[in-house]
Symmetry: C2
Subunit: 143 residues, 2 copies
DNA sequence: TCTTAAATATGATTAATATCATGTTTTTAG
DNA sequence: CTAAAAACATGATATTAATCATATTTAAGA
């Protein structure tokens, strides 16, 4: 479904959403273990997300990664698309180039409604939404 | 979602379901192009499915792969599980070991209903079901 | 029984992902 | 202005998935 990279990135972003803000940045080495992702690996992914303005970062002493209220407005799907690309999540389940609603392949036809629903949810939910769910202990982030 | 291997296998099985039976076998070289999958690659996959009795095969002259009525009772999910393994399709979307209905991760909670629905469909639909849809031109199998 | 034609079994190669490592740039504070 | 600390940029390595190749086994028909 998602690549390891996307999974790692999502875990990291949600962790940062809960534990950081403009005045409380976190260095990679201080949370990579907490989310059970190799330091160098998650660093690379977060650098990409920072470049794309999904999260924030500051170099130098007292620097680190952090997430602002504005960052929190970005959706889960945006993160997935930056890391995995649009194709991975939306392409035909049989890998057929010409599969579409008008001329669906057998699997497309079968799972299209639930699949569309899933994609719509990932597109509508923001980092903030999920962070709130975590804060209310409605959901969890075990390692 | 699915590996290339699963996609290829499903395409091949459906193609065979439409074009073969006990008395009309097909050799790999006669359909690998039709489904746009490398010959040696699909051969290997089908050998595995034949070993697991999802499809049928006969060696020697006039041999080939074919699908019996009995083969057609197998589900789509069985094929996916043989090729990709159960884990790929059913594991947590964040890759969390301890994620489950009782203690769901944020993504799990979000997409669980649609995801379960998808899995249920793949488990309930048989090769025969999809082959019939194809025969009735309700769905298509472009290359 | 011999030849030929097919799948089968096995393994080699290639390509894509995942992972790790490190020198460069920026920023802070003394 | 300098030293240290952080992300940043880049690329190297390792692992896994995809693809290709081939010798072996089995079956059909002459």
């Amino acid at each position: 479904m998602l690549s390891n990279s996307s999974k790692y990135a999502l875990k990291a972003v949600l962790y940062l959403a809960l534990h950081t803000d403009e005045n409380n940045k976190m260095m990679v080495k201080d949370f990579s273990e907490r989310i059970n992702v190799p330091k160098a690996y998650i660093a690379k992914l977060l650098q990409e997300l920072a470049k794309r303005k999904i999260i924030s970062s500051a170099k130098g002493p007292y620097g680190g990664f952090y997430i602002t209220e504005s960052n929190k407005k970005h959706t889960i799907m945006e993160i997935i698309e930056i890391i995995d690309g649009k194709k991975r999540i939306e392409s035909c389940m049989l890998g057929l180039e010409d599969c579409n609603e008008k001329k669906p392949c057998p699997i497309h036809s079968l799972i299209s409604p639930s699949r569309s629903k899933m994609i719509a949810l990932l597109k509508s939910k923001t980092i903030d939404d999920l962070a709130k769910d975590l804060e209310l202990n409605k959901v969890f982030l075990p390692v």
